[in-house]
Symmetry: C2
Subunit: 369 residues, 2 copies
């Protein structure tokens, strides 16, 4: 794990203990703490560090801005046999999102298909976490969310209008692990722009726009503007399609549920993010075994595609995260030393115990690796 | 309409008469002819000419290859209150697709949400046609399909694995016309590559790969290889996301229904394309009027985004097609003279009447314009 040279290998239990301690100290109830710990650990275990414990500094800021109602309990506003609308009460987003996906799963197991939408929520972590819940129960799952602030500029514009609006889709196979797509509808995450700006790197044309709305290769200009491009990157590469997908997610997450579209969010207001969850039992269409075997074959054939670069096999959505998960489970979760250093004063401010490695020495000699 | 200089303006009635005459002469039953005429005219009316009457020469070839069973009647294989599996009997794809979406709409109107999948179908035209059916009935609609041959190369590969696998999503608004996203999950359609190759043009890097799996700017090499890139175009612009979306559509269309994945299709076999339709009543979540007004506002704000180029306003998905529809309804459907010339011997072979303009003279002096 060469990428871990200035990083720590943190055991999963320590990571979970730290997340739980902070969320608990911030006054979130036990259910929210459990859901938040599961959700953030899901991401760090799979190498999606932008959606793991690194969110705590952002949550601390949102907390100070009044985005979170600490003791909120999600409530079902409206419900029928195949659908529900859940009000998250502006609590930690992980709880209403988890409740919603579990409800969608239960309904789909009885009826075959179900849709649950959520309003008055907050950031719910990696969307894949919820889609995977369905796949673990033998169902196809879809999880969408809008966000607290616009970042994606619709094709032809110079103002952000949509959140980075993720689409996660998971489908269970028979022998193989599930197909798991988890993607923002922007070309790249804002975190990738931030890292490139820190390193003063040149970025590929199409990652971001400068303040005038022109594509830029200057990471600093692209990150400063916070004008992310939709998937497709440039008009001549069909960025209008990514723009349309981002709008679709905004509609299903916010318009359908009554949440606030990212472009209408007022800073300092209690969270009103919207999510959308769909669960589908493949057995309503064909025998479960046949379906699972067909998905096994599809994924095997994609992995067996002749590669453009010999020795670099083609991957199926979910493969990189599964590889990271295997590494995390055997060698601990690889967290940058800079992140560990940023978390220490945050943990102190929360007034709770420190569960992460001591970062005062050389990080390469720390942790469990 | 400067783009119509070497083209004809064809009245909708003439276009429909010609499509219907050919499909009928080929032995398709009245329901299939009606569905096919509606579906192909939908596309031509909206300027999506790659999915309109220009499909007839391709259908003629597929017909000679045994892809179509002319007298096929779609049958419901499996059904519950919120779902159905339809067998298209390898007939014209428009009929099972129309039957499936109408069934999804009827079920969603009662239950709130529904999913209908189709196997043993063929090309169903523009996916948006089916999503729009739901929106016209006040529902949110999703329409997906795989295709008869692979075209999209998964990121890192040099072999096509997925069809151009479209995603169409339509959502009805209150005062405005619906939001209509209709996109292939490839960067561009094969038809765009073909046109660039005809014109010997340079294409943007990322539209297609050459035979070695490398991105090329040579339209002829890119069209000859038939190796299309997924949305995102290049690995550094996140083409793995488009690759994942194409796989998701392949799973929902073919794996779920039991149809044949594009990469497993055997030439000369009766059609076994798969489709997936979802219908969702927004009223299961919130008051229909509030939902519709929120979507009106969202679309208005997107259109009001400050443009990157002054005077070139930002469009919402569906706007270009609506503009083309207005032109078509007032001035006729603009069809290239070359297409009209290609259709004449086809119509003669089918042994039916000619309903399109006489193309022997100067096309600029023909038609109704």
């Amino acid at each position: 794990m060469a990428e871990c040279a200035s990083a720590f290998h943190v055991p999963e239990a320590s990571l979970r203990a730290q997340i739980g301690a902070v969320l608990g100290a911030w006054g979130f109830g036990p259910d929210a703490v459990a859901a938040g710990t599961d959700g953030l650990a899901y991401a760090d275990l799979r190498g999606i560090h932008s959606h793991g414990i690194a969110m705590l500094p952002i949550y601390e800021r949102w907390r100070s801005e009044g985005r979170f109602v600490a003791g909120a309990t999600p409530s079902v506003v409206k419900e029928n046999a195949v659908s529900a609308l859940i009000d998250g009460g502006s609590g930690l987003g992980f709880l209403p999102a988890t409740v919603a996906m579990r409800l969608a799963i239960a309904k789909a197991m009885t009826a075959g298909v179900s849709a649950v939408s959520v309003r008055r929520s907050n950031h719910f972590g990696a969307a894949g976490h919820y889609a995977v819940m369905a796949a673990q129960d033998g169902l196809i799952g879809l999880a969408l969310s809008n966000t607290v602030a616009p970042a994606i500029v619709p094709t032809g514009g110079r103002e952000a209008r949509f959140g980075t609006n993720p689409i996660a889709f998971a489908a269970p196979a028979a022998r193989s692990e599930p197909f798991v797509l988890d993607m923002a509808t922007s070309t790249v995450a804002l975190g990738k722009l931030m890292m490139a700006a820190y390193r003063d790197e040149t970025i590929p044309l199409g990652w971001a726009l400068d303040a005038t709305g022109r594509p830029t290769t200057d990471a600093t200009a692209g990150y400063a503007s916070r004008l992310a491009t939709p998937l497709g990157a440039l008009p001549e590469l069909s960025s209008h399609k990514g723009s349309g997908l981002a709008a679709m997610v905004e509609i299903l997450s916010a318009v359908v549920s009554g949440a606030t579209p990212a472009m209408d969010t007022t800073p300092g207001q209690p969270g009103d993010v919207g999510h959308f969850f769909l669960a589908l039992d493949p057995a309503i269409f064909r025998c479960r075994d046949e379906y699972g075997a067909a998905l096994d074959r599809l994924m095997e054939k994609v992995r067996a595609t002749e590669p453009a670069e010999p020795g670099l096999p083609v991957q199926v959505a979910g493969d990189p995260e599964r590889e990271a998960l295997r590494h995390s489970r055997t060698g601990g979760i690889c967290l940058p030393a800079a992140l560990i250093r940023e978390l220490e004063p945050l943990v102190a401010r929360a007034g709770c115990e420190w569960h992460l490695p001591d970062h005062s020495g050389d990080p390469r000699h720390q942790g469990i690796s």
